[in-house]
Every structure is written in C-alpha cells, then in structure tokens.
C-alpha cells in the first residue's frame, strides 16, 4: 500500500505588492506519495518556490489544507512547524543557505545541534552523511573553499542528516553545469532508493524532468500533471 507523504488541498496564497494583490498559488491540489521523486517545472514567478515553502511550513497558505506525513500544518503553531522542519521535512534553498564562517561539518551538524542530539551521536551521524554524499576529507573546509557542486552536496547533506521523510529542493541544479547537475540528480535518486524519501524538485530546466518519477508543471499559480500517476 502506498503511503501519502504530502497532500495539498485547495491551496491559495497571495502577496500584497503595494496596493496590488497578486495570487501566487491558485487552487493547488496535489498528492505526493512516499518514496516518489517529483519534478515541478515552470517559469520564474510561477509560484514554485512559494509552494515548496508552504510544504516546508516556512509560509502559511491563505486558504486550503497542507498535510505532511499526517500532520495538518494549518493546525500547528510556530514551535510545531519548527519541529516539522527539524525532523520530517527538509528544505534546500536555491542559494544553499550555508554559513560561510562554519565548516562543512558544522554546517551539516546544525539541525542536530538544534534538535539537542548529544555530541557523540552528532559526530557519528554527520560523518556518515558526509561519507554518503562523497565529501570525505573536506569536512573541515569552509563552504567558500568548495565548488558549486560541492556546496550543493553540503546543503543536501544538511537536509539529509535528520533523515527526513520529505526533501524539498528549490532549483538544485540552477547554479551548476550540466555534468554536476547530473551528479546531483543521481544523488537524489540514490537518496530515494536508500531512504525511501519523497523528493520534490522545483526547476525551470525541463531536462531535469528526465530524472524524476512524476512531473508537474506550474504556470501562473496553477499546478498540472505532466506525467500521469503510476500508482
């Protein structure tokens, strides 16, 4: 039986720009299953990032329901949403969101420090994840000393360190050349296979959709299926 990881029902979101109100998301409905890799393709400004932020609990919808791994995000307060972000959903921003004054190890360790995990367990888990993503020997470097592809891997490692059920990646290949983009997409496929993680990738590059199980398109705030559901 397939388990639902993310359920979006009638989700609306608008922003106010001066006197004008812009509807960024219009009646978005979607179901993402456990262990699926989903690609959301669309032009800039179509609402892709807003959708990811709503699933991550970084923003709240104006209307509609967002259920992630059985938790209705609308019913959670700020502390509840923080806990969801710390343990169930991981979000990788387009600019990676790394801290340049911390080392690779310390960046990856951050979610575990926040969760209050003891030092020995942190050391073991961070070392495992760094080895998994292939950054062995670069643990004590600062992110500024790494290439774009390596920085992306550090961001993925930080997202993976808490073993989340849902991984959200905002334009993960936007700042990479095609060879590095392929490597990152292969890494996502491995993560899906090894951890049964639901991975939602937002991209403006249609070539990335070759690597996903199911593709959707987003245009002016509405979400449509490109590849039909296989379950």
């Amino acid at each position: 039986m397939h388990e639902v990881a993310v359920l979006l029902r009638d989700v609306w979101k608008s922003y106010k720009f001066g006197v004008e109100i812009v509807n960024v998301l219009k009646n978005v409905n979607a179901v993402f299953m456990r262990g699926e890799v989903i690609g959301i393709h669309g032009p800039s400004g179509s609402g892709k990032t807003t959708l990811l932020k709503i699933i991550a609990g970084l923003e709240r919808p104006d209307r509609g329901e967002v259920i992630v791994c059985g938790y209705n995000l609308n019913l959670l307060d700020e502390v509840g949403l923080s806990m969801i972000r710390n343990s169930i959903v991981s979000y990788i921003p387009q600019d990676y969101g790394l801290i340049d004054s911390l080392t690779v190890f310390e960046n990856v360790e951050l979610p575990l420090l926040i969760a209050g995990v003891d030092k020995l367990s942190r050391l073991r888990r961070v070392s495992e994840v760094i080895k998994y993503i292939g950054l062995n020997g670069k643990e004590w470097l600062r992110p500024t000393r790494l290439s774009g592809g390596e920085r992306q891997r550090v961001a993925i490692a930080r997202a993976l360190v808490t073993t989340p059920s849902v991984l959200l990646a905002d334009e993960p290949t936007a700042n990479l050349d095609w060879n590095n983009a392929i490597k990152v997409m292969e890494l996502f496929k491995d993560i899906k296979k090894d951890f049964n993680t639901t991975i939602v990738i937002v991209t403006h590059d249609p070539r990335i959709l070759e690597f996903v199980d199911r593709s959707l398109t987003m245009f002016e705030g509405t979400l449509k299926e490109i590849t039909p559901k296989t379950y």
């Binding site: 991550a56 970084l58 700020e78 502390v79 923080s82 806990m83 969801i84 972000r85 710390n86 343990s87 991981s90 979000y91 921003p93 969101g97 790394l98 801290i99 340049d100 004054s101 911390l102 310390e106 960046n107 951050l110 979610p111 420090l113 926040i114 969760a115 209050g116 930080r158």
Partner: protein, 137 residues
C-alpha cells in the same frame, strides 16, 4: 524560554570567527587607557556612549553572518527559544567585553545603565535582523 546549548555554542563559534569580536576587543583595550590614566568624570561618562557604539559596531560588523545563520536556523527547524538563545548569547558576550573599561572607573549605577543599554541595543538589532530574514525567506 528554554536555554538551548546548541544555539549558544553556535553563537560563540560565529562570534569567535567574525570581525566584530576583534573590533570590540581592540576598542575596549584602547579605552582602558582612559579610566587608568585620566581621572575626569566627564571623560569617563563619555565611555558609556563609546561602549554602546562599540557594541553596536561589533554586531553590525558580522550582521551578514548573523542573517545567514537566522536563515539556516529557520530552514533547519530552530524554535523561537533557539533563536532567542542565539541572540541573547551574542548580545551578552559583546556587552560584557564592551563593559570592561567602564567597570574600572564608573560607579555601580553607571555600569548597570551601560549594561542595560548595551544589551538592549544589541538584542534589538539582532532581533530586527531576524524579523527581516523571517519576512523575506
């Protein structure tokens, strides 16, 4: 509010690797000259003002790092308590260093006033940065 040791540890790491700590240590060391050699109450009270500015500059020097940390904290699921622990730890360390010259020559009332002023200025600055990051992320 719970004290989060992870956030306090991160605050110390960020401070120790930033520009702000060097600015504040250098300025505080230079200011030690006045309370030791110049016994003029007017000058000593000027130290209070300089100390506030010193704390402010120390936080501003690393403001981009603090902002990226707030963003990373938010993404990684930091609770409001974690964020407040980070802000208060950063403010406390900066305030304590900026108070060194004052404690030598000013009375208890002056020291307490400076303490309150420095901690409120630095905490407010960091909190406003956090609000800004939260709004635009």
């Amino acid at each position: 509010m719970d004290f989060k040791s992870g956030a306090a540890l991160t605050a110390i790491k960020i401070l120790s690797r930033g520009k702000g700590i060097y600015i504040i240590i250098t300025t505080s060391s230079l200011l030690l000259y006045y309370p030791i050699f110049v016994k003029n109450p007017r000058i000593t009270y000027l130290l209070v003002v300089i100390s506030v500015l010193n704390a402010l500059v120390a936080v501003l020097a690393d403001i981009d790092t603090h902002k990226s940390l707030f963003y990373a904290f938010r993404i990684c699921g930091a609770t409001p308590s974690t964020l407040m622990t980070y802000i208060i730890t950063t403010s406390s360390v900066v305030t304590l260093i900026s108070l060194i010259p004052i404690t030598i020559c000013i009375d208890v009332f002056g020291v307490l006033t400076s303490l309150l002023m420095n901690i409120s200025v630095t905490t407010s600055l960091l909190y406003m940065s956090y609000i800004k990051v939260r709004k635009y992320s």
